[in-house]
């Protein structure tokens, strides 16, 4: 029995592999059209199901008479009799535009382990209650026209849009625009307003007509094509249609008796040939106005002292591109200081107002110069100029000849000044320094990034140094230990000096100092406490040779310093040898833990 179980353990991965292989072989892809028979007012759903595999949504070829749009991806997992099946479903909404039999595909569906070419069939029949309609556009369409086919640049014109719905068709919800209006060269999108509803008979068929209109103004000359793509929602009875789910946004709610279906209407194309404003005979006082305008100017106060401000108020009203008109200018005069002209808000959208402050510099000023406003009359296709003024003013000499501060107190209107932007700002002047783009910016170069580490390293070094400094200040023994080799090196220099001079007493004195200072610092002993016994007591047990050398050195030096032994006349060589012995023993001690 044990043997059998052991065998099964070996079989488990093999069985698992077989199951995996079996599941791999089960991978498949299917194409489904639900339902396969619909009316012209209906829609179908095309589903590509990847069973036990996965795959991207394939592109569906264009089919005349059908609009196929990708709806999204969903996934399902089912377990039946312990067998798990997973599906990845890509759904497409199929909207017919005409009746007939359609073949969708072949669609190439790629999935892990293979690919398949699939086709689906769809039959579209005429809708109930309208046996004449062959296409959607027979029942629902739109028409566009304009009041001016050749307007001038900036001259507003009106687009009239009519939506025709065959009698009996009910529209619901809003009308939405999905493009078809030029995207560039127009000053904003037209704002469509519903202007009314009526009924019209076309070829013996009654249509309900919804009328809209929108104002358009172009920024450039050229030919503009208007063919708006309009989407409306048509109410469709749902009794004869199957549901595609409770939350199907395209098919309405499950419990309603009716549902709405979005339909994009066909529309004619309205070409508008926008003319440029002629450059010939353009007056210097032209400030961009196109249309028909009135111009009024008011000057106040008319009695001032030299240096006091006079306000010139200008008002332009009428029909045309008011928003594009810039302020008329006052002719410059050395006796008058002109301030910047300001745009002032107006309560009416049929007029614009400007204000300009002028200051007579002297009492020689008798009048504010005449102001001309020119505009292009689009109806007569010529320029018109309206001139107002000159405006007499009485300027008296200023009482004081001293320095005068002239300040214009801002009014509420001035605070609401708008910035006038009619054209782009002019070119920039030559740069002082030329910048070249040599690949990577300097701050992203590897060299610079590596350099950025240096300050951190420097900080680390300083930090370690200060830590050491602080530690040495607190720990005397450690500080002396740290000082020991340095002091020894200094004393050895004195020993070498004594050897060179062959000064025996100085030699032994310096040698003694070397040993006592080194061990004094090393073992943290006071000057008088350094003795051979004290040093030997701190040497580790296994350092017998070092102990003997030290004993010899201490004895010899003491003998020679205090004249205990026999007087000797040591040669330079002997002294050097003794120094070498001392150096060797100190180096060994430096490596030992005492």
């Amino acid at each position: 029995m044990k043997f059998e179980i052991r065998n099964l353990k070996f079989l488990t991965p093999i069985i698992g592999s077989l199951f995996l292989a079996a599941s791999a072989f089960a991978a498949d892809v299917q194409l489904k059209m639900e339902p396969q028979l619909i009316s012209l007012m209906d829609r179908a759903v095309l589903k590509i199901e990847f069973i036990d595999t996965n795959g991207d949504a394939p592109a569906i070829p264009d089919i005349d008479g059908l609009d196929i749009r990708y709806q999204g991806k969903s996934s399902q997992t089912q377990m039946i009799n312990w067998k798990t099946t997973s599906k990845v479903i890509h759904s497409y909404i199929v909207t017919p535009a005409k009746t007939g039999d359609f073949t969708i595909g072949p669609i190439e569906c790629k999935y892990k382990g293979g690919k398949k070419e699939l086709t689906a069939q769809l039959r579209v029949i005429k809708p109930d209650g309208d046996k004449e309609a062959q296409t959607i556009s027979d029942m629902l369409f739109s028409r566009i026209r304009t009041d001016k086919e050749k307007p001038f640049v900036h001259e507003p014109f009106t687009l009239f849009l009519s939506i025709y719905a065959k009698e009996g068709l009910q529209l619901a919800g809003n009308i939405s625009f999905r493009g078809g209006i030029p995207e560039t060269g127009i000053d904003g999108e037209p704002e469509w307003k519903m202007t009314g509803q009526s009924r019209e008979v076309i070829n013996g068929t009654i249509y309900n007509v919804h009328r809209l209109q929108g104002r358009v103004e172009t920024l450039t000359a050229g030919t503009f094509s208007f063919s708006p793509s309009i989407q409306v929602n048509v109410v469709v009875p749902r009794e004869k249609r199957r549901s595609h789910g409770f939350d199907d946004a395209f098919f309405g709610d499950f419990f309603g008796r009716q549902e709405t279906r979005p339909v994009v209407l066909s529309c004619n194309t309205q070409e508008v040939d926008v003319q440029p404003i002629p450059l010939e005979r353009r007056p210097p006082s032209y400030t961009g106005g196109i249309g028909k305008f009135e111009f009024e100017v008011e000057v106040s106060p008319t009695e001032v002292k030299a240096g006091e401000p006079v306000t010139v108020k200008m008002r332009i009203s009428g029909e045309g591109n008011l928003a594009q008109i810039t302020a008329p200018s006052i002719q410059e005069n050395p006796d008058i200081k002109l301030y910047e002209v300001r745009s002032v808000p107006s309560e009416s959208n049929r007029e614009i107002r400007f204000e300009q402050v002028v200051i007579p510099r002297s009492d020689n000023v008798k009048e504010i110069p005449a102001i001309s406003f020119s505009y292009f009359n689009a109806l007569t296709a010529d320029y018109r100029t309206i001139t107002k003024g000159p405006f007499p003013v009485t300027v008296t000499a200023a009482e004081s000849q001293g320095a005068q501060v002239i300040a214009v107190i801002p009014t509420d209107a001035e605070n609401k000044t708008k910035i006038l932007g009619r054209d782009i700002v002019y070119l920039k002047s030559m740069p002082k320094r030329w910048i070249t783009a040599n690949g990577t910016a300097w701050y992203f170069s590897k060299r610079f990034l590596a350099l950025l580490v240096l300050p951190i390293l420097l900080l680390a070094v300083v930090f370690m140094a200060t830590l050491k400094r602080d530690a040495l200040e607190v720990d005397v023994a450690r500080a002396r230990r740290h000082k020991a080799p340095k002091a020894a090196r200094k004393n050895i220099q004195q020993v070498e000096h004594a050897i060179r001079k062959k000064d025996e007493p100085a030699f032994y004195e310096a040698l003694w100092k070397t040993l006592t200072e080194y061990f004094g610092n090393r073992l943290n002993l006071a000057a008088g406490e350094v003795s051979l016994s004290a040093v030997l007591s701190r040497l580790p047990g296994e350092t017998k040779q070092e102990a003997e050398t030290l004993t010899m050195l201490f004895d010899r030096i003491e003998q020679m310093r205090y004249g205990v032994g026999e007087p000797a006349d040591h040669s330079k060589q002997e002294m050097k040898e003794m120094l070498a012995q001392t150096t060797r023993i100190l180096k060994r001690c430096e490596r030992m833990k005492l």
Binding site: D56, A57, P58, A59, I60, I68, R69, Y70, Q71, G72, K73, Y92, I93, R178, G179, E183, T184, G185, I186, G188, E189, L219, T220, G421, D423, I424, V425, Y426, L427, K428, S429, M430, P431, W434, I435, T436, A437, N438, A441, W442, Y443, R447, F448, L451, L452, L454, P455, I456, L458, L459, V461, V462, F463, T466
Partner: protein, 251 residues
């Protein structure tokens, strides 16, 4: 001391290297710039465009050249290219009033809405990426120097350590404001260069149309698809468009 000398030497070497590289190939730029400006003033926009374009392709990276090229594009009626170059100029000098005015004007003429930004991104756009990097580096160096001095000068340790908090905070702010700029590398901006661009709900031909995007609109990449589609964000809405309809703003 030796370390200080070494650092100074490395900086000097680097700066001279950069300076010499910058000097190369810039000799003709002043003349070209004047010629391009003259061509623009004379109404020869094609000539002006050609000279500015040649300067940029020869490595000129001055904001003035991008701006003037954008002006020439605008006057020549090429709004998408104008917006593209205004935006490139804006990357370098986001506070420049001329660039901002012309960019707004060009976007308005194109019928496009300016890129939607949140408060943090607007704060970040107060300075260019280069300026934020320079500020962060300066704050970093000053901060390190303050800490080193605090370690070395014991009597002023407390004051210097507190002082170092200021460059520390400045560095954090700079790095924070740098973040939206760095995000432009991951999610770059593109300008729609062809008409008829429609954002779809899915990265598949025939997917439901979501919204139209006018040529010249600045869109932000959100995701990419291996089949040539890109998920973009425009006016707060996301959608998928073909990559050949757009041109990248950042180099």
């Amino acid at each position: 001391m030796k370390t200080g000398i070494a650092i100074t030497a490395v900086f000097v070497l680097l700066s001279t290297g950069v300076a010499s590289a910058a000097a190369e190939g810039t000799a003709d730029f002043p003349q070209q710039f004047i010629k391009a400006q003259e061509a623009y003033d004379a109404g020869n926009l094609t000539g002006s465009l050609s000279i500015y374009g040649s300067m940029i392709s020869n490595g000129c990276h001055n904001v003035e050249v991008y701006y003037n090229l954008a002006n020439a594009c605008f006057k020549n009626g090429d709004l998408p290219e104008a917006v593209l170059n205004y935006r490139r100029a804006w990357y370098q000098q986001p506070r420049d009033p001329d660039i901002n005015a012309n960019l707004r004007f060009a976007l308005n003429a194109a019928g496009a809405v300016p890129p939607v930004t949140n408060l943090f991104e607007r704060a970040s756009a107060v300075r260019s990426m280069k300026e934020w990097i320079e500020a962060a580096i300066a704050a970093y160096l000053i901060g390190i120097l303050s800490v080193i001095l605090a370690l070395l000068i014991r009597p002023a340790k407390s004051v210097l350590l507190k002082t170092s908090l200021i460059p520390g905070a400045a560095m954090l702010i700079s790095l924070g404001c740098l973040w939206p700029w760095m995000q432009l590398e991951t999610y770059p901006e593109f300008v729609v260069v062809r008409s008829g661009a429609t954002a779809l709900f899915g990265p598949v031909e025939g997917s439901t149309a979501h919204y139209k995007i006018p040529p010249g609109a600045i869109v932000r990449q959100r995701d990419i698809d291996s089949k040539g589609w890109m998920e973009i964000e425009y006016d707060g809405k996301t959608g998928w468009i073909k990559r050949d309809l757009i041109s990248r703003v950042s180099p």
